[in-house]
Amino acid sequence: MRTDINKINEQTPYEDLTEGLMMFAGGTSKHFKTGEWRTDTPIFDKDKCKQCLLCAPVCPDGCIPVKDSRRSDFDYDHCKGCGICEKACPFGAIEMIPGVEPVRR
């Protein structure tokens, strides 16, 4: 039975949950701001960036938005700070800094 999962919450009795907790929607992970799990944060230096786009496909969380063949700043709502993009960048345009905030102290 296809139900509106938006009506399911922490007060829903077991009889009204979906079978096996099936989710009747796609792409729901973007609603969960998992970026706060991060302990290190990448900083994007757009002056050093040559737009080679080696960073975007190696990001495990798809947190480097690319539009019209150009990348923009990180999606900090979902970036986990793994640092793979920093290693992939040939131009030193990505720097990892400690902490969850994308600002230098």
Partner: protein
């Protein structure tokens, strides 16, 4: 019209799988698995069925692929035995909690150690709390009949749970016995087309299976799964009735053999039930009121029905073909005693462990057990509640 033939239990189940013609069968193709995947892949190679066979690198993968295929919308099954089932452990629970109506053809063989390949129930009994429906067979005929009923039970909307079809290793799986086979077309009609409501390859209707659930949801999800298991009892019974009406064979939750007026009843599962029935026939000729309750369905456990079936007897022998290492008897013993206590029915109960790792279990053993039961019920002897059959001990030397 049924066809008479002779087959091993493995052949019988493979034959049923050919008739069911499921969409996908992932299986690990060599030992510890059985001949079942090999026989099915022969049928496929010979163009006798349309199933997509996926040879995988382990049972962890065969169950994972079965779940994946089932979630995608394909009627899926796999087959294994013994440590192959043990390697599926994690996925068995995933299949059940994701409410996948897939099927597993299991040949019951012991788990190590000591290293041994022969029959006992330690593999499936270890998996008894994974959320699978478990149906056991006495012989090749029942394994065949149970296999054909598996998908109609699993796919019923009140159930949506995986089903394990169990038969005894070697004794049933390899011994060739007479069998009645149904017509292909009749099996096809009985099993029906699979029409899943929700599945991954359903364009325009996105769905995700098996999400992470925080504590606020997880307990409710487990209760809902438990409710489906409770509800499956009715579906198992109605499916068995339909099968019997159509093909003239089979039992519902258990078979009651000469138990009507029985003073002494032995509860047993699998191939040893045949041995027990032979002994009961012999004892009846001597005027001993013995009977056998052969359990077909272990999950869901038919507590109330078993308690009722035992309410008029004096003494019960519960036969476990596995050890629970709890100092108190095997899993069937625990379940039966709990059922009797719950429904306030109190015959004398003795729990026996027999046939571990392929140890013989004979008609003479059953005579001895019934002899002990009559001694217990008349208060002549006082025996230990938990006993091994055919065990070498200093005591009995």
């Amino acid at each position: 019209m049924s066809v008479k033939d002779r087959m091993s239990g493995n052949e019988a189940v493979a034959y049923a799988i050919r008739q069911i013609d499921p969409d996908v069968m992932p299986a690990f193709p060599i030992t510890p698995s059985t001949e079942i995947p090999q026989m099915v892949s022969n049928y496929i190679a010979n163009g006798m069925m349309n199933t997509e066979f996926i040879p995988v690198e382990s049972e962890h993968s065969s169950m994972s692929a079965t779940i994946g295929a089932e979630a995608a919308g394909a009627r899926s099954l796999t087959a294994t035995s013994s440590c192959g089932l043990a390697l599926m452990w994690e996925e068995l629970l995933v299949a059940a909690s994701n409410r996948m109506p897939c099927v597993l053809a299991l040949v019951n063989r012991t788990l190590s150690g000591p290293i041994n390949i022969n029959c006992d129930h330690s593999d499936s009994m270890g998996a008894r709390d994974t959320g699978w429906i478990q149906i056991y067979a006495e012989n090749n005929q029942e394994a065949y009949d149970n296999m054909i009923q598996a998908f109609p039970i699993a796919e019923d909307k009140r159930v949506h749970l995986p089903v394990m079809i169990c038969q005894d290793g070697f004794i049933t799986s390899h011994a060739v016995q007479n069998i009645e086979l149904n017509e292909d077309s009749e099996v096809k009609e009985f099993v029906g087309e699979y029409e899943p409501e929700e599945f991954l390859l359903n364009k325009g209707n996105p769905v995700a299976f098996g999400p992470y659930a925080v504590s606020n949801y997880s307990m409710e999800a487990k209760k809902a799964q438990e409710k489906a298991m409770e509800d499956s009892k009715e579906v198992i019974i109605s499916t068995a009735r339909k099968y019997k009406e159509r093909f003239g064979r089979g039992f519902e939750l258990f078979e009651e053999y000469r138990t009507n007026d029985a003073d002494y009843i032995m509860i047993i599962m699998g191939s040893a039930a045949g041995t027990a029935k032979q002994a009961v026939d012999d004892l009846r000729k001597k005027g001993i009121k013995a009977g056998v309750l052969k359990l077909r369905v272990f999950r869901p456990f038919p507590s109330e029905e078993i308690a009722n079936a035992l309410k008029n007897c004096k003494c019960v022998a519960v036969m476990d073909r596995t050890e629970s290492y709890n100092g108190n008897g095997g899993p069937l013993s625990s379940e039966v005693r709990a059922a009797l206590f719950e429904y306030k029915i109190y015959p004398e109960v003795v729990c026996y462990t027999y046939g571990l790792s392929g140890r013989d279990f004979t008609v003479e053993n059953v005579y001895e057990i019934f002899d002990e039961l009559s001694g217990v019920s008349e208060g002549n002897i006082d025996i230990k509640q938990h006993r091994y059959i055919n065990l070498r001990t200093k005591e009995e030397a």
